[in-house]
Symmetry: C2
């Protein structure tokens, strides 16, 4: 549904309006007036006939005027009734400021369930509770309390945002506005009992006036929806910046005591962001800078940046950061270099990053020419112009040249410039009119330009991808009820989904392990099989590298004895005798996350896994391109290309297996708790799972 009437309401009912404008239930009344809200303001409080020069209604139902939004600030035990009253009065949206719900313990949790039900029953969609309110700059809907309720001069613009912490979120707004960002809708979402972050963001993408959205979030229950939001962001070409709070143990602990938000697994959030084109940010300046470069309304074709600087150091610092952020500074074409050399003095540089030196300003047409030359180079997707701290007339000339150049190209252009604005108003005006973003330091610009390029390439890379359907198993017969399955049971499930495994035979207790396994190649592994022994190695239940019938016999006997000593009474299904596999040791895991559902972990196995935690994550399911990217993301990815003379591993087979596991995880989702394939051997001719553990719920 559209939130148009929430942000642009014809009338606003203030339920629980206070006689004291300094109270939480009074501040929004003052804010609406000060902001110049033009719709009806209907105070609801049975104790008064009139308040603050406005008529006071005994109940929402008494309003009898077009009213699209209710601001609810009554005590927590009265909120559910207030929501129902709004429903009865035909008010479709509410913002509930009141605190004292799940963040306040068991009693609050009960009250929160009641307001959720009241909303569902009455058809009222609501923001909050326990939030600082929401506002929309164009409509002057200023339904907030706290310091922002006094900031009615906030500049209008095309950035909409939503925050799971009102105090922090409005601080971000304040800072971003001071640096030139204009806002549209701003929502403090609080406990998100009804309207939650993904829906807010999705609505921003539908809103024609919103060009960029920003969210501060600690977590959201149905986190998987973020994948759809990301895809929609790429489709609509409107970026969504997300600051994920509670990334660390310390942050998570703080979130638990502050907000009772589900913070979830940060690794999975990061995976979801990367996977879907959402842009993760980590501080306010970054948000400002990214908003500025996106505001020019142009995307580069790729990651190649051309740099023109009047200061050597600026070019160096820019280059350092640009490549770290994933941009490339390709060499200019020979034609470009030749043309630049005719203009740039010999103590400058005509290579990328070019150092024009400040002498190009002696004749402004020269600067225009250098810009045109670089913009015409087909290898360059985006151009940054570094003007150091020039000011006054020099700045005006330079910015005139940049503004002209911007008008004659569709490549993104931006300017790094730290001159004093007070000495360069004309120059600033020229850039602003031409919609050319300018940022103070080369580092900040390189980072923002990289985000712009990433978004553009994410569109090309991610939009064509389709999500494969769940994998259909052959003859799958899952044990009923929660269970930690044995290796043999786990592998039976892998087998049903076609995951390649080591050739192996389950030898029942008492059978001759040599006679029973005549078909297997040497060397072999022998392992105890028992649901009651999850940690086989610890139990002395594993022997590797067995290369003769005699060693196999001894090993089998030892293993059984060890297992019995380790856990007397364990139900032992037998000994699993497998061919030893060769190749790079990898691992594939699946967790069925509370928020995201099935997600796949992939990493190097063996000592790499233990000592280095070299792993990467994706939300399931995903296709072969995503799987290939996962392989490339490991720090130790080179191991798959063959090392110390080993042949290259079959990375394509590995990628296919990652895809299959992700699809298998979706098929098993209702029953799957977690799954581990470790080790998975990646050899020159394919992969084999050598061990596996599945936990059902």
């Amino acid at each position: 549904m559209s939130f148009e009437r929430l942000y642009n309401p014809r009338g606003i009912a203030v339920i629980g309006a206070s006689a004291d404008l300094s109270r939480i239930s009074g501040q929004p009344i003052a804010a609406l007036k000060n902001a110049g809200y033009k719709g009806g303001i209907y105070l609801v409080n049975p104790k008064y006939q009139e308040l603050h020069g406005l008529k006071c209604y005994p109940a929402a139902a008494a309003i009898k005027q077009p009213c699209d939004l209710a601001l609810i600030a009554v005590p927590s035990n009265g909120v559910a009734a207030a929501v129902r009253d709004c429903g009865a009065a035909g008010i479709p949206f509410a913002i509930i400021l009141t605190a004292g719900f799940r963040e306040a313990g068991a009693e609050g949790r009960k009250l929160e369930a009641e307001i959720a039900k009241a909303g569902k029953d009455s058809g009222v969609r609501f923001i909050g509770p326990n939030c600082q309110g929401a506002m929309s700059i164009p409509s002057r809907m200023w339904c907030v309390f706290g310091s922002v309720s006094y900031e009615t001069e906030l500049r209008e613009g095309s950035v909409s945002c939503a925050f799971q912490s009102g105090g922090f979120g409005y601080a971000v707004v304040n800072l971003a506005e001071a640096q030139g960002i204009g806002f549209r809708h701003i929502v403090s979402s609080g406990n998100e009992t009804d309207i939650a972050m993904p829906e807010l963001l999705s609505d921003f993408l539908d809103d024609a006036g919103t060009k960029l959205a920003f969210a501060y979030m600690e977590g959201t229950p149905d986190a998987r929806q973020l994948l759809d939001v990301g895809r929609k962001s790429l489709e609509t070409g409107k970026p969504i910046l997300i600051w994920k709070g509670a990334q660390t143990e310390a942050g998570t602990k703080a979130a638990a005591s502050h907000t009772a938000n589900l913070t979830g697994n940060y690794d999975l959030y990061r995976a979801a962001f990367r996977q879907s084109g959402l842009i993760e940010v980590h501080d306010v300046e970054e948000i400002v800078d990214i908003a500025k470069v996106f505001a020019q309304g142009r995307l580069p074709k790729g990651r190649a940046i051309g740099v023109l600087s009047i200061s050597g150091g600026s070019g160096i610092v820019y280059a350092d950061r640009a490549v770290k952020e994933g941009l490339s500074l390709p060499s200019f074409s020979p034609q470009t270099v030749t043309a630049l050399k005719a203009i740039i003095p010999s103590f400058g540089s005509s290579e990328n990053p070019a150092d024009t030196t400040a002498s190009v300003f002696n004749d402004p047409t020269l600067f225009t020419k250098t810009l045109e030359i670089v913009l015409a180079d087909p290898a360059i997707d985006q151009v940054s112009i570094l003007l150091a701290s020039i000011s006054g007339d020099a700045a005006t000339k330079a910015c005139k040249a940049v503004a002209d150049a911007a008008g004659s190209t569709d490549k993104p252009i931006n300017v790094v410039w730290s001159g004093r604005r007070s000495k360069s108003e004309a120059a600033c005006a020229l850039l602003e009119k031409a919609n050319v973003p300018f940022i103070t330091t080369p580092v900040r610009m390189a980072r923002a330009a990289a985000v712009l390029a990433n978004f553009a390439t994410d569109r090309q890379r991610l939009l064509p991808r389709t999500v494969p359907p769940p994998l259909k198993p052959r003859d799958l017969d899952l044990p009923s009820g929660p269970a930690t399955l044995s290796e043999v049971e786990s592998k039976a499930i892998l087998g049903a989904f076609g995951i390649p495994m080591t050739r192996e035979v389950l030898v029942p207790l008492g059978s001759d392990p040599v006679a029973a396994t005549a078909d297997l190649k040497w060397p072999r592994a022998a392992k105890i099989v028992s649901r009651d022994i999850a940690h086989k190695t610890e139990a002395g239940g594993v022997r590797l590298g067995l290369d003769t019938p005699d060693t196999l016999k001894v090993a089998a006997a030892d293993i059984v004895a060890n297992a019995k000593a380790y856990k007397p009474g364990a139900k032992i299904d037998g000994i699993l005798v497998s061919e030893m596999a060769q190749g790079v040791e990898a691992l594939i895991g699946v967790v069925n996350d509370e928020g995201f559902g099935p997600a796949v972990t992939f990493g190097l196995g063996g000592i790499f896994s233990e000592a280095l935690k070299d792993v990467t994550f994706r939300i399931a399911p995903f296709g072969i391109e995503t799987a290939r990217e996962m392989i490339g993301e490991l720090r130790g990815a080179k191991l798959f290309d063959g090392y110390r003379g080993a042949p290259p591993a079959d990375k394509e087979a590995l990628a296919r297996t990652l895809v299959d596991v992700s699809r298998m995880a979706m098929a098993l989702a209702p029953r799957l708790e977690e799954m581990d394939i470790n080790p998975l051997f990646v050899g020159p001719d394919g992969v084999v799972a050598a061990d596996a553990l599945i936990v059902l719920k």
Copy 2:
């Protein structure tokens, strides 16, 4: 020598003064006048009697007034003569703006050598050439050209800085000043033909008016001097921030074409910074923030931070970043929690980070009390107070409480606050008067507070360390002349310095490898020994894991045949037969760097080295504490603690060997080009070098 007279000259001679104030040789004249420089300005230009209302002298010698500084802006081929003239006139310092030296090719390189000699001969110490000049705010010495020559309103303060790129450096100054930083001495150091970065920084530390120094540098020829600068910084308690340009290949390429600076090896610069207490920075905001937290003149005892927030999100974001930056947020003591619980409402949090909620401002004494309680907790070294974006009266009350608290503790206190200054002048004034730093975002403050804590702990950790002397070898007999030594020759040198090695025997060609090695244990390795074959494995010259006399014999014959086929005519010294070593594979390398001299690389060996480049660096020599830190810095450091049931490796023996190699490198420095010990096996009972390569120069 002291640069006091350079920064506070009694008179300034402008050699090559221009009649045109807009030219490079004219702008500084205007700047000195506009800035209000009170000493004598002596223009030197034989073409004029008077210029700009000032007397013009035909030569420096004609000045006959106290004159401590010459600004030289004559053409490049006249600079050496100008320097000599200054010497003859008794002028001790010069700033040479002229470009056209080594950055302009061979002819310029010759001119640069001439001015270096002129300086030495005449006793004139000089800044530049090819620089934008220098200035000192207190004395109004404004000897600069370019945009900064018009910025004579720059605020005075206690930050001094030096830049290898004038344009970029002055842009940094502009930005930092706009964010509240005041400056003292500012130097664009140009080609640093005489006075180079380490000497400038060391002088800043001697200057009583400088409390913090900042440098932008791409590289410096005698980089080892930075270690002494860092130590002096810790001793004097004045931090030095360094922004190292040209960190990446792209940046290095840009630096080469822009400035012809020696950029050196970034890994070694980072090692030197870490090792000596210099603070690396990467953008302007970071510099500003660090300068602010240091300006309070207090250092914390350790890394424990206590956080008081009025906004849940701010506390979470702060905690996230603080721990990433190496701070700890310890639990408050039970007394602290109990005392806080009596004040903080139940929907807040009394754990660290505490969420007081904005309600504490209802009674300002409550906020003062919460501050006192947290400051009194002995586990807390530093306190951050997060005020989100409050403004007006609430801000004044809060800042009054903070200012009072700051006056009654010696623990560092800081404030995160993004309220509008225009609405909170009184609050800002309170904090400024109490010398309490405030910064806009939790992330920025967490980073700055961490730098403050790092500096404090670096003083405790690094100052007690002494540098061990070079190691004395027994019977060292180095081959003369440059040479890539064979394994046997290299190991002979290691042996002379007491580095433990595998037990082994060099078997001459034609001898029986079994009979000659009867004392060695099995299994063994056999390797070709030839100076002509540096890459033994590639040549088929290595066999490992030989466990019987027969396999050894076959291997020895194969190796010789392979080597002869690989490089016909190679001079073969024999076959080296060694006992196979056990343990974690590590590597120790030494490079004799052009700037730093001997430096040690340490990392994991084998596939870890090939696939993961898991290495760390230090400048030699160093003691055991530094060596232990190197071991701990590896991503795979856990491998040394025993994995998959292996016993823990002898990390102390490894640390001792690192120290010995660093001391050995110093002893060999005049002859050493590079050295590699790879692999070095780190077993439970010590280390053994299994292979080594030394290149002499």
